[in-house]
């Protein structure tokens, strides 16, 4: 095990109570992140990326969703066992999350500035004036024009991408050791996106910040992440170094995803996609959840859950047919 391991998620499962019984939304997810490392988390819409990260942060959205198994080791302690007060302190000082939909996570009746400055005062003991100065500086760093003035705007006065950047500024304010960023750049044009990603990588280089980056943009993954975990139907199906996984995906879902990237065909023509639908939570729990959509599916795929296993050094796939997947079409 690596010495500087910062976060180690082991067998994390999350269920939702439906009609008196618990249905799995996340099923035994495992991955780790070292200090100074950026790990990409990608996968189908609805595959459980957000729920996994919120479970890690102990910020599941409702009482109906609960962790049912696993450990979240952060700096050596299991976050799932911490008391609420201790967990709040870890979240305020060591861990931060950028949420996927800023509008639901920003307070509509509080100015942007107050929302960034208030945690600075609470967690870092800054004075009102110091916190204000720091908040202006953070907004400048994320490229908000005229930050000294815009700091007194309310969230609805910001554009979508400006709100996203305000969330990023707020998350960086507490100088976390680990940043969990859930689709942090979906509303940013490519030049501002590059500026924000450079800011994050710079913090990584200078302070050893570790980042879990959830994104659908495989170009961004290629440019910023060291390692990658791919989720499908609540399970982590493939994990490895970015350059290797993107060049030669070994899980059929990963291969299908990479083959669906736009930009290769003639404009206006039908885009390739993975045919079929993902299973509903609670469906197809017996074997591989990707099997109805998989061209390599065999009998064993219906009867046994494929366990994640090493297929090369630092490369893990949860596929019964991983011997055959060597031949999968590599991404262009």
């Amino acid at each position: 095990m690596m010495a500087n391991m910062l976060l180690d998620v082991r067998g994390l499962s999350v269920g939702v109570m439906q009609g008196g019984r618990s249905t799995a939304l996340v099923d035994g997810a495992s991955f780790s992140v070292s200090a100074g490392e950026v790990m990409g988390l990608v996968g189908e819409s609805g595959s459980g990326k957000t729920i996994t990260c919120r479970a890690m942060m102990r910020l599941l959205p409702s009482a109906a969703t609960q962790v049912t198994a696993g450990q979240v080791l952060f700096e050596g302690q299991d976050l799932l066992l911490l008391g609420d007060g201790a967990m709040r302190a870890v979240r305020g000082q060591r861990l931060a999350m950028i949420f996927q939909n800023p509008l639901s996570h920003l307070n509509p009746v509080m100015t942007i500035g107050a929302q960034i400055a208030e945690p600075l005062r609470r967690n870092q003991g800054l004075s009102r004036r110091e916190a204000h100065t720091e908040a202006v500086d953070l907004l400048r760093q994320v490229g908000i024009p005229d930050p000294a003035r815009r700091i007194s705007d309310y969230p609805h006065q910001f554009s979508g991408g400006m709100r996203q950047r305000a969330m990023i500024a707020g998350a960086l304010a507490c100088r976390p050791a680990l940043l969990v960023a859930d689709e942090p750049t979906t509303a940013l044009d490519v030049t501002v996106q590059a500026q924000i990603l450079r800011l994050l990588l710079d913090l990584r280089d200078r302070t050893g910040l570790a980042i879990v980056l959830i994104t659908h943009d495989l170009g961004v993954v290629g440019q910023t992440c060291d390692r990658l975990a791919v989720m499908y139907g609540g399970r982590v199906v493939e994990r490895g170094r970015v350059a290797e996984v993107l060049a030669r995906p070994r899980h059929p879902y990963t291969a299908g995803l990479l083959a669906s990237q736009p930009g290769r065909g003639v404009p206006g023509t039908k885009l390739p996609s993975i045919s079929g639908q993902p299973p509903a939570p609670g469906e197809l729990t017996e074997g591989c959840r990707f099997r109805p959509r998989c061209t390599l599916a065999a009998d064993i795929c219906a009867s046994r859950i494929p366990q994640p296993h090493a297929i090369a050094d630092g490369w893990i796939s949860a596929c019964h047919r991983s011997a055959e997947t060597q031949a999968l079409e590599p991404a262009a």
Binding site: G46, P145, T191, A194, G268
Partner: protein, 335 residues
């Protein structure tokens, strides 16, 4: 069929009041943010026009102004040549049925107390799209069209993933069979496979029913695939508009060139060194002359003093003082 374009936006201006700062109170000046500073656009039937530009440049505000969700300060919005202003109530309702918007932040645009089935069903009812007995089936079909299972009709927005919510927003816009869809970052929360399904659906609607699309997006690869024409906005102004092929492969405006050069590529392993120089401009205090000049490597004195007139070069219109003097800018990367 009329000779007018489906949608025509003429010299549209939208501004918002901003709270007065100390200096404003001293000088008694009321400041406004000019989010859209005089935009002209047309969208033809069956066409997809891409709208791209810097975060905060006014794309969402322009979209909302077109559908009538924010008041305009000046300008006109016409559909088939008819201005929405002064229309009778039924005409206005028909107008709103024909132009549908998919919102950038879908969670905020769905009623948390209603099931997805009720939300979509209401659209069918209000616009009398089909007999009440058929609504349930139509809702199911619509959900499937955007890659959601029919049983999503029973769920509420709470607990939907980001991409599931976004697809409900798309389904709601499609429900009324509009003539124009304004899609504001409508596929940004979808993985590339589901994104492909939704884009295929848009292209299919276009072929089958001649639906037009104003497609706001930061993903230039998708814009290239989907759009016949592209408009590039900067600080409330359109600075370049023309065929997608020309604008994205041989940009004429320096801002477009910077944008195209920053496209992330899966093959490349480091961030492109593309940060535009200088501070981002503030709509509270816009620069004189060309809005891009403080960050433009080619700026000369005229750029600081005069707003460029539009120039027509081949099929592209560009607002840059240098447009005729230089060959198309070669971005680092061609999509």
């Amino acid at each position: 069929m009329s000779t007018h374009p489906l949608l025509a936006v003429e010299n549209l201006v939208v501004s918002f009041p901003v709270p007065m700062g100390l200096t404003d109170i001293a000088t008694l000046r009321r400041r406004r943010v000019r989010a859209v500073a005089g935009v002209d656009l047309i969208v033809n039937r069956g066409e997809t026009l891409g709208l791209v530009g810097e975060s905060g440049c006014g794309k969402s505000t322009l979209s909302r102004a077109i559908v009538g969700l924010v008041p305009t300060e000046a300008g006109r919005v016409r559909l088939d040549g008819r201005d929405r202003e002064g229309m009778s109530a039924p005409d206005r309702r028909a107008w709103h049925r024909r132009v549908q918007m998919v919102f950038q932040e879908p969670h905020a645009s769905l009623n948390p107390r209603m099931t997805i089935g009720q939300t979509l069903g209401e659209v069918f009812r209000v616009h009398r799209i089909c007999p009440p007995a058929e609504i349930e089936a139509r809702v199911g079909d619509l959900l499937e069209a955007v890659g959601l299972r029919r049983d999503f009709a029973n769920r509420r927005p709470h607990g939907l993933s980001g991409g599931q919510c976004q697809r409900v927003g798309i389904a709601r816009a499609l429900a009324v069979e509009p003539d124009l869809i304004i899609a504001d970052e409508a596929v940004s929360a979808l993985d590339v496979s589901i994104q492909a399904q939704v884009l295929n659906l848009f292209m299919e609607l276009q072929r089958a029913r001649g639906v037009a699309l104003l497609f706001v997006s930061h993903d230039l690869t998708v814009v290239r695939h989907l759009c016949q024409r592209v408009a590039v906005m900067y600080l409330g102004h359109v600075v370049e508009i023309g065929p997608a092929d020309a604008v994205l492969h041989a940009p004429l405006h320096p801002y477009t060139a910077a944008l195209v050069a920053a496209i992330p590529q899966p093959g490349k392993q480091s961030l492109a060194d593309t940060a535009l120089m200088g501070e981002p401009p503030s709509p509270l205090n816009p620069p004189s002359g060309c809005p891009f000049h403080p960050r433009c490597a080619r700026a000369i004195s005229i750029c600081a003093s005069a707003m460029p007139e539009p120039r027509r070069i081949a099929q592209t219109t560009v607002w840059c003082h240098h447009a005729e003097d230089t060959p198309a800018l070669q971005p680092e990367r061609i999509i």
